[in-house]
Amino acid sequence: MSQKVIKYIGRTTDFRGSTLWELVSTLPNWGEGRMVIRNMFQRYPEPCYMRILKVQAEDAQANEIRKVRVTVEKTWRGVTQPKPVEIFSTSYKADYELVPVEEESKFLNNSKKVAPVVLPKHIEFPPLLREYIREETGEANPMMKVHFKKTHNKQARVAQPGEKPSKEVSMDLGQPAKVASKLYEGLV
């Protein structure tokens, strides 16, 4: 008898790994203190990993992949978040992978950081709104503040007074990246 060959039929997926419950349920002490990674985030050169702090089992629901409530300390693109994060609604995704203890140093020693992005403080108005404001205030070139909301995993920041922004933000299409300049051949 020849060996059985499993042929998969169906849509392919970008996920690789197993669900969080599959990992956690087989580990001693529910894997507390162990390191897990999301394979989807391994596209970044900066280290992305999570360390399990607490595990709470949840009842299995019929016809659903089993979820689990796990509190983790999350490091994303080289930045460790100050508060522990709870994973529940995404725990069913078959994209988690357990890091063996001897390989943890690979992530811990990776000290790459995202290049800081400094946004300008002001941006011009859209054309019609600019005309209205010119009429109302008489200002020749009115500007508004750039929207920015500070979060823990945001890598950009707004320029301080007198600082030169590293990124231009304008009310037009902007300059295409060098990689994508091919797309605009003969158009610009």
């Binding site: 508004m144 929207h147 933000v169 299409l173 990689v179 994508a180």
Partner: protein, 224 residues
């Protein structure tokens, strides 16, 4: 549900292919309705996943970020402007000094008190009138009850007297034999017919009436 869908499908196909007398042609059910299952021929079809090239992905991401920053900045500006306008404008309210506010409040209080006094006066008059009316009404009802009771007593008295009067002809144990004798001596036959004119027609012979009366024309019924 499914069957209804199939029927609709059938109708639609008839309307589409058959000759119709109208200029209109409805093409509402052109595709498979959503609630029908996947066609057998499409059951194992796996849709292809389109891969974006690196440059396309980068450029779309850049445009998306650019657009979101622009839009959020405009929204933020407009939101702040609305707040600024609401704080500074006097369009929907009149700004008053504390003294003016106090005076206005006092004026309102006085007006309210005056209204209350006027209404209290009206209410006093109305309540007094209502009280008088109530007294009169109760008095009337009491007198009517007195009258009613008296009448009732009179009626009862009259009835008792009537019954006493009637009791004189009652059959008692003493005159029972005499009453039976009288009844046997005078049998009464109630079997008779009566016509529209009130005439009596006796049909039996064995009555207390004499024989000759049956040959005579029917006598006039007595009206009592």
């Amino acid at each position: 549900m499914l069957r209804a869908g199939c029927q609709l499908l059938g109708q639609a196909s008839v309307a589409k292919t058959g000759s119709n007398n109208f200029a209109l042609e409805f093409v509402r059910w052109r595709r498979k309705p959503r609630w029908l299952p996947v066609a057998k021929s499409k059951l194992f079809r796996v849709p292809e996943r389109k891969k974006q090239t690196e440059e396309e992905r980068t450029e779309l991401m850049r445009l998306h970020n650019q657009y979101k920053t622009q839009l959020r900045s405009v929204r933020q500006y407009l939101r702040e402007e609305v707040i600024r306008y609401e704080e500074t404008s006097t369009a929907d309210h009149i700004v008053l000094t504390p003294e003016q506010e106090e005076a206005e409040f006092q004026r309102c209080l006085d007006e309210n008190a005056a209204w209350n006094a006027a209404i209290a006066k009206e209410r006093e008059i109305r309540l007094a009138k209502e009280r008088d009316e109530k007294v009169v009404y109760v008095q009337e009802r009491l007198e009517a009850k007195k009258l009613r009771d008296e009448e009732r007593l009179e009626r009862a008295n009259a009835r008792v007297l009537h019954e006493i009067e009637q009791s004189k002809t009652f059959i008692t144990r003493e005159n029972l034999d005499a009453a039976i004798e009288t009844a046997l001596a005078n049998p009464v036959d109630h079997n008779f017919a009566i016509d529209m004119g009130g005439n009596l027609y006796y049909g039996r012979n064995a009555t207390q009436f004499p024989q000759e009366t049956t040959n005579e024309p029917p006598q006039q019924a007595l009206s009592n």
